[in-house]
């Protein structure tokens, strides 16, 4: 079972939900939480677990071999990303702009640009009883999240069978990295806020999920903070509301201190129980 936890906009509490629900589920189930917000993974702040494995993740980029190069200029011409630049009699490669398409390397007439692996990020795997936690982090300066996300999902799928509940903490927004995360998921939980901004961004996220033909439900975070428009919208469009997490300064405070909230606040725990039931029911195929 693979579940992506996503949100249209940043700062809606996506990480709060994913870390808490993962820990709560792990009290009774086998759970893997994967932080795929690879530009800014911060789930680890909330998860206490022991280091189990660490791997560097690589992407392929061309490396200039000065001795073979005739400075013909083809590499620069075929690169659509400005990652290969000919400056006088030097060929420069900008790793963070390179999409690893191999065009420059394979179209070079003298094989002067062989592809070599460079580190683009690091995958870290932690364990705590029933909970496996995996995060990947892009190296500073690397901009392309999709290849690292794809490799991380491969790692998870190779290591864990489908009887594990796999929770993917997705980056915010509706761009390529989000699609990379959600396209592999069985269903998607969208976390939103009951505000006009939250509703606007939720609608964009819903459009994306419909385009990808994904089953999804909504968690309203900070319920009571704003108005009822998000809830009305979900009811009107028959979108399941999985849980409503109350707005409270107490929750915000525990969050800012990097603490798991369901262990401190009972009304929050009730909502996690709802999410848990929803997930377990969908695993049993009740929703299908």
């Amino acid at each position: 079972m693979k579940i992506a936890i996503a949100s249209g906009k940043g700062g809606t509490g996506k990480t709060t939900v994913s870390t808490n629900i993962a820990s709560y589920l792990a009290e009774t189930e086998k759970v893997v939480l994967v932080d795929l917000d690879v530009e800014e993974p911060n789930s680890k702040l909330f998860i206490k677990a022991d280091l189990y494995n660490k791997e560097d993740k690589f992407k392929m980029i061309p490396q200039w071999n000065q001795n073979l190069c005739t400075l013909c200029g083809i590499c620069q011409e075929v690169c659509n990303y400005n990652s290969v630049i000919q400056a006088g009699n030097t060929i420069m490669v900008f790793s963070e702009l390179c999409h690893s398409c191999y065009a420059c390397s394979e179209l070079c007439p003298t094989e002067a640009l062989p592809m070599i692996p460079v580190k683009m990020g690091e995958l870290t795997h932690y364990k705590n009883n029933n909970l496996d936690f995996i995060e990947s982090r892009l190296e500073i300066g690397q901009e392309l999240a999709v290849p690292l996300i794809a490799q991380t999902i491969d790692y998870v799928n190779n290591l864990f069978t489908d009887d594990f509940i796999k929770l993917y903490d997705s980056p915010p927004g509706t761009s390529c990295p989000v699609i990379e995360v959600t396209k592999d998921a069985d269903f998607v939980i969208l976390v939103t806020e009951p505000t006009p901004f939250g509703l606007n961004d939720l609608k964009l996220a819903i459009e994306t999920m419909q385009e990808l033909q994904k089953q999804f439900g909504v968690i309203i975070n900070r319920d009571g903070l704003g108005d009822a428009e998000v809830e009305n919208y979900c009811i009107k469009n028959k979108i399941p509301i999985i849980a409503k997490i109350p707005n409270s300064k107490e929750i915000a405070h525990y969050y800012s201190r990097g603490m798991l909230i369901y262990k401190q606040v009972s009304e929050f725990k009730e909502q996690m129980e709802k999410v848990k039931r929803y997930i377990i029911n969908s695993m049993r195929g009740v929703l299908k």
């Binding site: 530009e39 702040l45 915010p172 509706t174 964009l204 108005d227 915000a252």
Partner: protein, 291 residues
Amino acid sequence: MKEIVIISGKGGTGKTSVTSSFALLAGKNAIIADCDVDAADMHILMQPDYEIKEDFYSGELAVINPETCTQCGICADICRFDAISIINNKHVVEPLSCEGCGYCARVCPVNAIKNIDLKVGQYFISNIKTGTKMVHAKLGIGADNSGKLVANVKNEAKKLALKLNKEFILIDGSPGVGCPVTSSLSGAHFVVLVTEPTLSALHDLKRVYVLVKKFNIKAACIINKWDINTAVSSEIKDFLKKEGILHIADLNYDEAFTKAMIQGKAIVEIEDSEVGKILKESWETIKKNIS
């Protein structure tokens, strides 16, 4: 004419709420540009009329001409993104997987593939409730914000500011630390960093400030919800002091922000709001520091 950019690094720190407040305070003197196109929200508070709409193109996409394609399969062999599949015995490009690298078009023996400009969304020029104009955009599904899109929105804003003789351009900047935020900052006169006292927000603030420093732009910081965690707030203040960033305000955690948003208003439009008052002072401070 002065270009002021509001950025945060992390999402959800209140950047757009702060920007819209400044937009109200600047009134007719400013052109507004929403460069946070991944989660463009300024329009909710600004009542735009979408006067001018233009399609926006960024990046490329391969297209196979079924008439000339001989189904030789070379394109599918060299594609590193698995973007070319065979459907009904024909090679086709899967648009969401294609990265527009153009390699397939270069190796096709019969020139059946060409790269077309990819439509990623629309941008708009609108009249807004403050009696001025706003440039904003909406991205399509799976489309990425890019340096080009941000530059485009800013260019339109700048043209309008020059033509209409405006004093300021107020830019709701892009999130993150990548190419779009670089483009948001390029050419700016002043940066306002909006942050909150959480460990992740502080972490992002430090990363985005590296860019600000590279561009030699004068920076100021507003700590939103500072009272949620005063320990992290002091950590932020230490960072500001060390870097010589002007600390202009601490805003209380205040649900009036959201209450105003629900009425389609910026917080400064709410009478007697404490946070609104502080933001008015902040705007004065910014104006003083910019000239």
